[in-house]
């Protein structure tokens, strides 16, 4: 059947025939790198137009509708504009940190694409500590925000960066504990093992109520971690104009923007992988015919479908909820989410030990 893994296998076969094993590996690395950069850019464009269309739909307006069919090329036009804009560095800014910060944000987002399984047997790097790797790398993103906020020589940026620092460090805990719940159920940190364990049912359904609680906490925590409304304290346009990227313009701003959307995609992809079975089709017990139909849908469609459903959920939050205040934000984490997720982890452990899950 047509699938991404078949294409990858064919390319591998063809390269091995043409240039020999060693060069094939080198070329495959290059291809993979280019593919990641291409995916990164495409995701940015797709998610920006998706967000604008979703928000327009919620706000009873049309949204972009001039460039291309139904305005679908609007984000391409915007990218072109941002590319030719002058990237200003404000006076008194720390030039090195100021210019490096957007790249750090982007590199973090790109690194996080590595362990994701986009389709059946289609994964860049199936390392044995995949979940740990994701948690570790994603926490670097706060450094880029702190760098940007500090180096901008702007008080709004500084406030935004400090808020963001407090926020990301706090919510990393709940997100980590929610992810641990699935790790405990699976007994492995490897992404492919986690997906394989959901072959006959996704963890959201198999793990009883604790898995649902973990999923809800995960969604709240990653919304906060990606600085999206209602937790967009770092940007908070009505309070801090644009927060940490107030002083950024042109392509440097666009990189932050891209990284934000790539991060949204990545956290949703992780959520889909851990709780909704990644590329695994939806199966119901022994309904063989139904399961057969589900299997017929390509695995990449399952993965992207689940991911985009979660992305839509996060966009829905953004366009309907007001923003929390900074102290309420931290209270929510330290007084509610963290104790609940700790207790939840104990429950999950109990379930895993007793083998109560399906």
């Amino acid at each position: 059947m047509w699938s991404l893994s078949n294409i990858a296998a064919n390319i591998d076969l063809w390269l091995n025939e043409q240039v020999g094993a060693t060069w094939a590996v080198v070329l495959e690395m290059v291809i993979a790198g280019v593919a990641v950069i291409g995916l990164f850019a495409t995701l940015g464009l797709v998610l920006v137009i998706m967000e604008r269309k979703v928000s327009a739909w919620m706000q009873i307006r049309l949204g972009p509708n001039r460039v291309g069919p139904k305005g679908m090329f609007q984000s391409l036009a915007d990218t072109l504009k941002l590319l030719v804009k002058e990237g200003m560095t404000p006076g008194g800014a720390d030039k090195l940190l100021f210019n490096v910060a957007p790249f750090v944000a982007m590199i973090v987002a790109m690194l996080l694409l590595a362990p994701l399984a986009f389709a059946k047997d289609f994964q860049l790097w199936d390392l044995n500590i995949g979940v740990l790797y994701i948690s570790a790398v994603s926490s670097i993103s706060v450094i880029s925000i702190l760098m940007a906020g500090w180096a901008s020589n702007n008080k709004y940026s500084l406030l935004g960066a400090m808020r963001s620092g407090a926020q990301i460090v706090s919510y990393e805990l709940s997100a980590g504990l929610a992810v641990l719940a699935i790790v405990v159920l699976t007994g492995s940190l490897r992404i492919s093992d986690i997906i394989q364990a959901q072959e006959n049912g996704w963890w959201l359904f198999k793990g009883h109520i604790p898995a649902i609680i973990a999923f809800i906490i995960f969604i709240i925590a990653v919304t906060a971690e990606t600085n999206r409304a209602p937790f967009d304290m770092a940007e908070a346009e009505s309070e801090l104009t644009a927060g940490f990227h107030t002083e950024y313009s042109g392509m440097k701003f666009a990189l932050f923007f891209l990284a934000e959307y790539a991060n949204v995609f990545i956290v949703c992809a992780i959520g889909a992988t851990l709780f909704l079975g990644g590329w695994m089709p939806f199966h119901i017990g022994n309904w063989t015919a139904f399961n057969g139909v589900m299997d017929w849908i390509p695995s990449s469609i399952w993965f992207f479908g689940k991911t985009f459903a979660l992305i839509f959920l996060i966009m829905w939050f953004r366009w309907t909820f007001p923003r929390l205040r900074i102290d309420q934000l931290l209270n929510l984490e330290w007084k509610y989410l963290l104790p609940i997720s700790m207790f939840n982890l104990l429950l999950v452990t109990l379930i895993a030990i007793m083998g109560w899950h399906f």
């Binding site: 009873i60 409304a229 908070a236 009505s238 309907t320 007001p322 923003r323």
Partner: protein, 371 residues
């Protein structure tokens, strides 16, 4: 009464919020002294949009100066014009025909709804929710269409003239207003679902931006800001003008004293305005829409004062006449200026987010403050 301003200590962060800032809704400049996220002091700086309207009015005739006042509180243009027209009528001892009175009240209440709609959207936007703004504009737009048909303008209407209104209602007026009432009633539940009932919204608004009743009186707050602290101050009730004393409506009072109380006052006030419009829309008396006046108006020597309830509070118009065709001196008592003065007291000790929420509930229109 006023706390000393400008005292800073080591480690304080001074931020110039504005004159261009998304939350100040215009060119208000706040010098905010922060200790971390906590607000130590807020000092509003005014004058960025000062057009010396009072001085301009002194060189315009009694017919002309009313048009300038549309540009003060542009969201209550009708009511500004109304207050000025009433003051001139007081000087001329002019009786306004009943039809004109009803038209004036209808326009005032439509303006009040439009103004509160805009405030409601902007309030939600201050708190980070963008969608309500567009929903509020959907209803506000149909009010603007009604205004456009009858007055020819959507924002600065210039419809009220001494002695009545400038011209008669558009034939479509009644039908359009009824359509609007229907639209509003079918959509008003969205307001509660989207904003009022939202947990995050309530947590952001309750218990912050406290104005005690004493403070509200001593700082001269009027309108929904004072009524949110339980101070009864509705000019329409206490000093009824036109036909307000014959209408059935309640003065909305909330005793919460916080941002949420002021929010609820405005939301409930919209419903009262709707009920006033419902009472009047089928009962517009026939007759003249304007009293007969001389071509050149001359006020007798003396001082005249009239006031009206705008969407933001009490607007006072004070005219000193030397007997000529132009006023000797005009003074406007604008609600926004007094309401702004309490900002420092409300916001002190809160977080930046509280300052934005508190400022939102004051419903500031900067040209009204600066004039």
């Amino acid at each position: 009464m006023f706390e000393e301003v400008g005292t800073t200590t080591e480690g304080d962060l001074i931020i110039n919020m504005g004159p261009q800032h998304p939350a100040t809704h215009g060119v208000l400049h706040l010098v905010v002294t922060l200790n971390g996220e906590t607000i130590k002091n807020v000092e509003p700086h005014l004058g960025y949009i000062h057009r010396s309207i009072e001085k301009m009015c002194e060189s315009l005739t009694y017919r002309q100066f009313i048009y300038v006042t549309s540009r003060m509180d542009y969201l209550s243009a009708h009511i500004n014009n109304h207050a000025c027209a009433m003051c001139v009528e007081k000087g001329l001892q002019l009786e306004v025909p009943p039809r004109a009175q009803v038209i004036r009240v209808l326009m005032d209440e439509l303006t009040r709804i439009a103004s509160h709609e805009l405030w409601w959207g902007a309030m939600a936007m201050d708190l980070g929710a963008f969608t309500p703004f567009f929903h509020a504009f959907r209803e506000r737009e149909s009010i603007n269409d009604i205004m456009e048909e009858t007055c020819g303008a959507r924002l600065t209407m210039n419809y009220m003239v001494p002695g009545g209104v400038m011209h008669d209602l558009h034939p479509n007026f009644q039908r359009r207003v009824k359509d609007f009432l229907q639209l509003y009633k079918s959509k008003v539940h969205e307001y509660d679902e989207m904003v009022t009932g939202n947990v995050i919204f309530q947590n952001r608004m309750k218990g912050v931006g406290i104005i005690s009743a004493e403070d509200a009186i001593s700082y001269g707050c009027t309108g929904p800001v004072a009524r949110g602290s339980g101070v009864s101050c509705d000019v329409r009730k206490h000093y009824p003008y036109e036909i307000y004393d014959k209408l059935q409506f309640d003065e909305i009072l909330e005793t919460g004293c916080d941002s949420f109380a002021r929010y609820m006052v405005r939301v409930r006030e919209m419903n009262q305005s709707i009920s006033i419009i419902e009472q009047l829309i089928d009962n517009i008396p026939e007759g003249d829409f304007q009293a007969k006046t001389k071509a050149v108006l001359k006020l007798p020597k003396g001082e005249f004062y009239s006031k009206a309830e705008t969407a933001r509070g009490e607007l006072g118009v004070y005219i000193v006449s030397e007997g000529g065709t132009t006023p000797y001196r005009i003074k406007f008592r604008s609600p926004g200026f007094s309401n702004l003065s309490i900002l420092n007291r409300m916001a002190k000790g809160g977080k930046i987010g509280d300052l934005i929420a508190a400022m939102g509930t004051l419903d500031l229109v900067i040209p009204d403050i600066d004039r």
